[in-house]
Amino acid sequence: MIEDKNRKREIIVKRVAKELKDGDLVNLGIGMPTLVANYIPEGIDIMLQSENGFVGLGPAPDEANIDPDIVNAGAQPATVVPGAAFFDSATSFGIIRGGHLDVTVLGALQVDQEGNLANWMIPGKMVPGMGGAMDLVVGAKRVIIAMEHTAKGNPKILKKCTLPLTAAGQVDLIVTEMGVIEKTDKGLVLTEIAPETTVEEVLAATEADLIISENLKEMDI
């Protein structure tokens, strides 16, 4: 089992990056998902969307090159790549809901075996608002959850989410530091397992029913 926080993150974001295909339009959520951009495989050309109103999000600028008119969806200074385009919020979410966004990568508080996702509030504690998350999860062709497998040792992959949902039944893939889990018609299937990790450890850290793939592979990172 991998314990080091930074190594966990690196494994997760590297593995998520391998899911991206040439030509994909991708929206990366705030936090860990943002780091996926650093590991896009060679020869793969993807376009990143920033839901506050553009496609063609580039790397963060250095101090000297900050343009106050370009921020990402987390209000951080941002840049655009050649070929980028700006638009208003209705167009931005038209792209998201309209089937034009290939992949969204988000974190999660909880995911369950029905593909339900909870990542926007903890009643009585944290109510920041859903921002664009509900639209992203409903609209993207593929929803990938990038998260640590447990929170302080407690499972986050559950039989049924207990927190208010972001969307019902929309999750396609869960990538954690322990493995890769696919949502299928039969339920959640563990298809890949991380190095230094056993199936027993994954099962112990997962509350949901987990089907172990007959072709279980070591995680491709």
Binding site: F86, A90, V138
Partner: protein
């Protein structure tokens, strides 16, 4: 018709209890000169329509901190701890709306639509109290139009007739709110002569704009 006004002239139209929509995404593209002028006037009991509540010291977040807001309709309030505090104590009402739905509700109001059908929010708390409509086998929520008394828009370049051009990611909700209010006020970062914005580059046509004020430099 002369749409160019002083801040004082504009403020005469802004009163306690009004519903005010404000452009900007986490204060990028927010008309800060107008926001500050409304603080100085001391307007109260505002119903605020905005993507978010900015930051305590930036954008419409300043209104929240000053206790000027009765109700917020926004998609995200997490960057302004004061919004959360006032929400928890019950001093301010907060209606959270998914960002894409907020954009479409405003657009619907400006476009004369009775609402929009969106799949966003199905199976979540967002569907509570809303009409669910099945179209060709798929469930949608009926989301109703959202109109303001006053829209405060930030334009990067505004000609003296009121045609507006928005730079980069300052666009966000600005062109939408400009279509959906009784009185639309644009703060010009740069005011130019009529004709200086190529008609093909106009993003909000002047017909939507009632008043123009020059933003502070």
């Amino acid at each position: 018709m002369n749409k160019i006004k002083s801040i004082e002239q504009v403020l005469e139209h802004i009163h306690d209890g009004m519903t005010i929509s404000v452009g900007g995404f986490l204060a990028c593209g927010t008309p800060e000169t107008l926001v500050d002028a409304i603080i100085e006037k001391g307007v109260k009991d505002i119903t605020l329509i905005c993507n978010d509540t900015g930051f305590p010291d930036k954008g419409v977040g300043k209104w929240v901190v000053k206790g000027m807001v009765k109700k917020v309709i926004a998609s995200h309030v997490g960057t302004n701890p004061e919004t959360g505090r006032l929400m928890n104590t019950g001093e301010m009402e907060v209606e959270l709306v998914p960002q894409g739905t907020l954009a479409e509700r405003i657009r619907a109001a400006g476009a004369g639509l009775g609402g929009v059908l969106t799949p966003t929010g199905i199976g979540t708390v967002i569907e509570e109290g809303k009409q669910k409509i099945n179209v060709e086998g798929k469930d949608y929520l009926l989301e109703l139009p959202l109109k303001a008394d006053i829209a405060l828009v930030k334009g990067s370049k505004v000609d003296k007739k009121g045609n507006v051009y928005y730079k980069k990611s300052t666009k966000n909700f600005n062109p939408l709110i400009a279509t959906a209010a009784d009185l639309v006020i644009v703060e010009a970062e740069e005011m130019v002569e009529v004709g200086e914005i190529d008609p093909s580059d106009v993003m909000t046509p002047s017909i939507f704009v009632d008043m123009i004020v020059e933003g502070r430099k």
